[in-house]
Structures are given as structure tokens and as C-alpha cells.
Symmetry: C2
DNA sequence: ATCAACTAGTTGCCTACGCAAGTTATTCCT
DNA sequence: AGGAATAACTTGCGTAGGCAACTAGTTGAT
């Protein structure tokens, strides 16, 4: 618990300082970058992120008003929407990347051996997946 | 990031349901139980917990008004204090323990192999220690 | 002995976010 | 086709907690 808070808080501060974005917001952008360019449904984005649906609504509000992402109407479901990166958002993410990876290294990766990195990666993948099931 | 939030949120809900305490509060009690019975300084408690000094002040306020811990004057430093579990707090912690361990198992430990458990334990210990340095 | 520099804890302010209830659209059953 | 049950967001409300500024006590230098 302490370790996870230490890492998260440290990286959050780095992210704020480097880009003005909270770590959770940066993470949303990163998920969106990996998603189809047509966009992704809010519910799916919430599941892939650290937020609940309500938290997601507000994070999307913030990022949208910063012009980093956009909400599009969903053609197949009138209730839904598709969320996608704008080019501004994509650019911001690209520019933030180098410092972001350094931040991961400083706060987390540099403290692990290769074996530990593997173990943590597979184990945490499994835990995250278990929750979505 | 997702895994750590999933685990923390799940355990927090369990803790709330079982005892009415947030996970962070339960953790403070657990740290206090391991501390000398004369108590521990707030700054040290904050360092051993997931909270900053200011967050700690308020968490201590809550737990104190629930009668689970007490603030004592610090004999060696007039600015400081010593925080210690009350017997009510100790009892609450003991009663919560079985369900707490089940919660750890459900959300975390059961998903790991023994090797992974070792790797995570030593690696995270190292990360937490690095931050305190 | 006095005063500056530091440290311990607290508080004002602000924001993020979870939960639960609400709204609108969809699906499914008959 | 029509209406109950369900699903996708949103919003009202409440709370936790970080940061930075504050207060009070301590230490150290002269």
C-alpha cells in the first residue's frame, strides 16, 4: 500500500509539473492513443482506467475543455458517445512521453530487478483482468 | 496503476463495510499496534502511512473522536505529541483482522504465485524505503 | 541571553472522485 | 407494437486529502 501510494504520488507530481495534467488524466490520453481512431465508449474507457464512470465523466469534461479530447455522437447507440484524442491531445501526449518514461524509471522501474519486473507485470495484469471479469 | 487502484478500492470497500473505517484509517491503527505502547510521533506515523502530514492530522482527528486512538503530550518536545491506540482501538483492530486478511487474499494474494509474492514483497519494500530516504 | 533559523503540527482552500439517484435511450418479451 | 426491465451517461452530494501558509515551540550561533 505504501509503495503504491509513493509511486503514484511521485509520478502525479511529475506529471503535473511537466504537463499540467494529473497522472490519471495522462493515463486516459494514453489509453485513447491505443484505441481505434474512431474513439472509444466511456464505459470501456472507465474500465481501462483508474476511474469509475462518474469520475470519468468529469475527467472527460476537463480534458475536453482543454481541447485534448473530443466527444462524438455514437452512431450505433443514441445514449452513448465515442471519445477520441484531438490532434492537440495527441501532440501533447507525444511531447510528454520522454519525461513520462523517465518518471516511471525514477519512481518505479529502476528499483526492480528484471525478474521482479516480469513478476510484477504478469501478476498485476492478472489482478486487473480479474476485476474486469 | 490499474491493478493498484483495483486492489485498493476493493479493499477499501470491504473495510468500510466490515468496520466503518477507510482502508487508510485501518492501516493507521495497524501501524500503531506495531509501535511502542507509549505512542508514536505524528511525523513518523505519516511516514509509515499513505498520508501526508496534513492528511494525517485529519485522520487522527477522526479516529480520536471515534475513541480508537488518543493524542498524548510529548514529554520531550512541547510542539509534539504521541499518538497511541486506545484499548477500544486495539479491540476493534483485533476483531477486524480475520476479515481483513480474507480481503487481502481475495483482492490480491490469491492472484499471485508464491514466487510472485516474494518478488512483489521485496521489490515494494525497497520502493517504499527509497522514498523515505 | 537573545534572536534567527528550523521543525512539529494545524488549518484554509481547493479539487478530485466515489456513491447513489436521475435521465434518456435501448432491448426484450409478449 | 407497446411497455417493463436494463444500460449509458450525468449530476447532487459528501468526504478525503494535498499543498501552502500559519502558529508555536526548539535549537543554535553570537
Amino acid at each position: 500500500m505504501v509503495a503504491s501510494v509513493v509511486v503514484t504520488r511521485g509520478m502525479d507530481r511529475d506529471s503535473q509539473a511537466a504537463t499540467g495534467l494529473a497522472l490519471a488524466e495522462h493515463h486516459l490520453l494514453a489509453v485513447l492513443e491505443a484505441a481505434p481512431s474512431t474513439g472509444i465508449r466511456p464505459t470501456d474507457l472507465a474500465a481501462a482506467s483508474t476511474l469509475t464512470k462518474s469520475g470519468l465523466t468529469r475527467a472527460v469534461d476537463r480534458l475536453e475543455s482543454d481541447g485534448l479530447i473530443e466527444r462524438r455522437a455514437c452512431p450505433s447507440d443514441g445514449r452513448g458517445q465515442l471519445i477520441a484524442l484531438t490532434s492537440k491531445g495527441r501532440q501533447k501526449l507525444r511531447r510528454a512521453a520522454p519525461e513520462f518514461f523517465r518518471s516511471i524509471a525514477r519512481h518505479f522501474a529502476d528499483h526492480l530487478t528484471d525478474r521482479e519486473t516480469d513478476a510484477v507485470a504478469t501478476a498485476f495484469e492478472r489482478i486487473a483482468a480479474a476485476d474486469r471479469a
